[in-house]
């Protein structure tokens, strides 16, 4: 069941000049949150921000009643959100959307880029609890964009690419050696990140007939399936990213790839 809760900000931690972790504390017990679920946060303090903003749930601590978000500044809302201070109230609707499905086979690759690495930690946790040890591949423009390596290492091996080669392999994620199609060994790919990245991965996956789930970031108004603003074209017609996604198997999408 979806909840609407007034959380209190418990921490805002900047990771670099435009990326931060936001921790929110609730008096209420938290419902179960699955990897890929997201929340709609109301940013009341921000002038010129009318609608809520959707963010993947990055982490959850059921004991302390804390949920965390991994956020990149994109515009007005995300920059104002970072200015909330400890103890200030934030109204959140959650958990929303579907989630990344458990793989049937154990060799899986999870790829994140940009703010798309937000759900990776919960995926790692969830998969580990279910006996799956993924390999992570995270990409950024420079070393400065690479986060969470130590944390993800708890759940599986972490590969890194940077466009300028300042950390890990040089290039885009799809240029990483794992993508050598001759000996690509993963049975399933999960990915979340910029659309061009996800489309390049989807292209590889569909060419090589590999199961692949992507998490979409369509603009939303309601986040709960009421407005029909967030649709993506699927083989069965337009579907709401907020309720029937954000996670889709690429075989269901009508992506031009």
């Amino acid at each position: 069941m979806k909840k609407i809760i007034d959380f209190l900000v418990s921490d805002v931690k900047w990771l670099n000049e435009n990326t931060y972790l936001l921790d929110l504390y609730s008096e209420e017990k938290l419902p179960e949150i699955l990897p890929g679920n997201f929340a709609e946060i109301r940013i009341e303090k921000a002038s010129e921000v009318l609608l809520r903003r959707p963010f993947s749930i990055h982490d959850v601590d059921y004991e302390k009643n804390i949920i965390s978000f991994f956020i990149k500044v994109a515009g007005k809302g995300t920059s104002q959100l970072a200015k909330y201070e400890k103890g200030e109230k934030l109204n959140v609707i959650f958990p929303l959307g579907n989630f990344f499905s458990l793989p049937k086979e154990k060799d899986i690759l999870i790829i994140g880029g940009g703010s798309g690495i937000a759900p990776l930690k919960l995926m790692g946790k969830f998969f580990k609890e279910n006996g799956v040890k993924p390999v992570f591949l995270i990409g950024g423009r420079t070393e400065n964009d690479i986060f969470l390596v130590d944390e993800l290492n708890n759940y599986g091996e972490v590969f890194i690419t940077t466009e300028d080669g300042s950390l890990g392999e040089k290039g885009l994620v799809t240029q990483h050696p794992v993508f050598n199609s001759d000996n690509f060994k993963y049975k399933k790919i999960y990915t979340c990140g910029p659309e061009p990245m996800m489309k390049a991965i989807a292209k590889f996956a569909s060419k090589n007939d590999i199961d692949c789930e992507v998490s979409l970031e369509n603009t939303m108004a309601c986040g709960i399936g009421a407005c029909l603003c967030c649709v993506v074209e699927t083989k069965e017609g337009n579907k709401c990213v907020c309720t029937e996604g954000p996670v889709f198997n690429i075989k269901d999408l009508k992506w031009q790839i």
Binding site: R42, L50, A221, G223, A226, C227
Partner: protein
């Protein structure tokens, strides 16, 4: 507790607060957040004769105190509504009011006819003002002759309370309201969205796949309020007011301007509990100002300032 009951045509509503078509799904989407039984009514998402996929993504753009949408009446068609959606929502103790659409008079009639057979449905809202479809929709609502034609045709076959939803994209909305009143409407609701547009100057492209879309939200409230006031002064049938209502104060302003009931639209996205908060707020206002009934303030705007 003040008396919140109002009448729209022959129909009594337990309170004047309803939710606007297209912003509240079928109601179910909000049942985790509020008790739907508390609402005066639920205007459900626009219905067409057949399944419609609507417009391509992107369909939404935020603007200053508003939003543009270009959903384009995505819905699964009237039969799906009757068989799958209505049976689920009819159990709520509130009026479920379908929003009827078509790209021709025949299509409007097709939807109306099927809904007319369902006893529990007490009213329909005839949407002649959707700005997001290539055919029909707003085209009917901005021309008096076609507004009259579709209203008359639907009236003929419709035993329910007939509410006609007007487009604000006209020179003289009072004149339009009188025309549909004369054509048999039991009530009018206004406003639907304003035709607007957003451009991303960085990409030099329109933000919406359809270039233009419908503007809603607090930005439009002053214009919507003016229109509700003008229409209330022009017609004898009840007026349902909407457009940018965000809180009880806004709702009361529409009622003072002459609305017998209000619809809450975009505000639901921002606070899914707002409709119930507005009911409570209206009740508090009446108590604080020593009114026994909301009916006492309908059209109660004092002229001298």
């Amino acid at each position: 507790m003040a008396d919140l009951k109002v009448k729209i045509g022959n129909l009594e509503f337990k309170n004047p607060v309803t939710t606007a078509s297209g912003t509240f799904g079928s109601g179910q989407e909000y049942s985790d957040f509020i008790d739907l039984n508390k609402l005066g009514g639920i205007f459900v998402k626009g219905i067409t004769p057949k399944n419609r996929e609507g417009n391509p993504y992107p369909r939404m753009a935020e603007t200053a105190s508003g939003m543009l949408n270009a959903v384009g009446l995505q819905n699964k068609g009237v039969d799906y509504f009757i068989e799958e959606i209505y049976p689920v929502v009819k159990k709520f103790d509130t009026h479920i009011i379908p929003n009827v659409n078509g790209s021709s008079i025949e299509e409007y009639l097709e939807v109306t006819e099927k809904l007319n057979n369902i006893d529990d449905i007490k009213a329909i809202e005839l949407n002649i003002s959707c700005p997001n479809v290539k055919e029909g929709g707003m085209a009917f609502g901005v021309k008096k002759s076609s507004a009259i034609a579709v209203t008359k045709a639907v009236r003929e076959i419709c035993d329910k309370t007939l509410i006609v939803k007007l487009s604000p994209n006209v020179t003289d909305i009072a004149d339009m309201a009188k025309a549909v009143e004369d054509s048999g409407a039991d009530a009018v609701s206004l406003v639907n969205t304003f035709l607007g547009m957003a451009i991303n100057h960085k990409t030099r492209k329109p933000v919406l796949s359809t270039i233009t879309g419908g503007l809603s939200g607090p930005a439009i409230k002053p214009i919507a309020l003016r229109m509700v006031w003008q229409v209330s002064n022009a017609v004898k049938i009840p007026v349902i007011g909407l457009g940018g209502i965000m809180n009880a104060g806004d709702a009361i302003e529409f009622i003072l301007a002459g609305a017998s009931a209000v619809q809450i639209g975009t505000a639901n996205f921002i606070d899914p509990q707002i409709s119930v908060k507005i009911i409570d707020g209206i009740n508090d206002y009446l108590n604080e100002n020593n009114f026994n009934s909301v009916k006492e303030i309908i059209g109660g705007l004092m002229r001298e300032i």
